[in-house]
């Protein structure tokens, strides 16, 4: 499962429909989706780290526009992730690999916000135990700080 973020610039440009179409064209199934302001989790950290004034101003603008978080899965995730990044560049964030995706999805989605359903008569394509989904279903009560701590430990 991948986390795809349609960033504030894409939302302000009204490109969401096109982005979802591209995701589905790559053979991915959208399993969860929500519009949410991501300033607290993501942009604030970025702002603290950023030193260039121009980039800072851009992040402050981006904080005023929500992002759309999409959890999607499919057979060929790594290929799809590369293609999507190529197509949309900075307008989209796509998880780099499965490990990162696990962490990112746990950070932004609760387990009850991800759905397993039949699409286009293709049948259900993922098992709850596979693709790292069990990982966050066990940990749905953990806070962001706890997840961050654990990921730091894992890196060491």
């Amino acid at each position: 499962m991948l986390l795809i973020i349609a960033k504030p610039s894409a939302i302000a440009q009204n490109m969401l429909g096109k982005i979802i179409q591209s995701i589905e064209k790559e053979g991915l199934v959208v399993a969860g989706m929500k519009m949410q302001s991501i300033d607290i989790h993501y942009l604030q950290n970025k702002l603290n780290r950023e030193k260039r004034e121009e980039a800072k101003a851009q992040i402050i603008l981006a904080k005023k526009v929500p992002a759309v978080l999409i959890a999607a899965y499919g057979e060929n995730e790594s290929k799809a992730s590369k293609k999507l990044e190529e197509e949309y560049k900075w307008k989209l964030h796509v998880s780099q690999n499965e490990e990162v995706a696990k962490y990112e999805i746990a950070r932004f989605f609760k387990v009850e916000e991800i759905f397993e359903y039949e699409k286009n008569g293709l049948g259900k394509a993922f098992e709850k135990e596979q693709n790292g989904i069990k990982f966050w279903s066990e940990n749905k009560t953990r806070s962001v700080e706890e997840i961050e701590k654990e990921s730091k430990k894992a890196k060491k």
Binding site: L16, G17, K18, Q21, M33, M35, Q58, L61, V65, N120
Partner: protein, 181 residues
């Protein structure tokens, strides 16, 4: 501004499962409506009954059960759309409830074709891809039912420049407010 309205649109489970979400969103974005709230949810029967509370009175128990079955069949994508006279405009884009009667160019006319008579025979709710609020009053109630206040956003977008604001000083301001990241 009083003429700017919000309305609720649902991409029903049949639309989501057929992979029509992107295409449907694109149509609303193309006319200049702003998506101010969105989420994918899988509702249970209690919630569905709240949403369709008027159908029981208007159409009877049989239809009520059928539509309840459809809305709880899978996840739906719920949207709040904002724009000038949004309620009326969104209904126009969706087309009439019966797909058979919907003209090509509308969502229901382009993506569905069955009639009420057929769904009666097979005892199934008519799969008409989307749901939209009928009146301003209904829109208000439905948005309150589906979305919390903090899930609805107020933000600048390109449509503010091209469609809503025509004065030069506004356009300048709006351009500066759009993020590039």
């Amino acid at each position: 501004m009083r003429m700017i309205e919000k309305t609720l649109l649902l991409v029903k489970p049949d639309g989501v499962q057929r992979g029509l979400t992107g295409e449907i969103l694109k149509r609303f974005e193309n006319v200049g409506l702003k998506i101010v709230g969105m989420k994918m949810v899988w509702v249970d029967e209690d919630f569905g009954a709240k949403h369709y509370s008027d159908i029981k009175i208007r159409r009877g128990e049989k239809v009520f059960k059928a539509v309840l079955g459809l809305i709880t069949m899978g996840p739906v994508v719920a949207l709040v759309l904002e724009g000038v006279d949004a309620v009326e405009v969104v209904r126009k884009i969706c087309g009439p409830t019966e797909p058979k009667a919907a003209l090509p160019g509308t969502i229901r006319g382009d993506f569905s074709h069955v009639s009420f008579a057929y769904s009666d025979v097979v005892d199934q709710a008519v799969r008409n891809v989307v749901h939209s609020s009928g009146t301003k009053e209904e829109a208000k109630n439905e948005i309150a039912l589906w979305f919390k206040d903090e899930e609805i956003h107020n933000y600048p977008s390109v449509h503010d420049i091209h469609i809503l604001h025509h004065k030069a000083e506004h356009i300048k301001q709006m351009r500066k407010a759009l993020p590039k990241v």
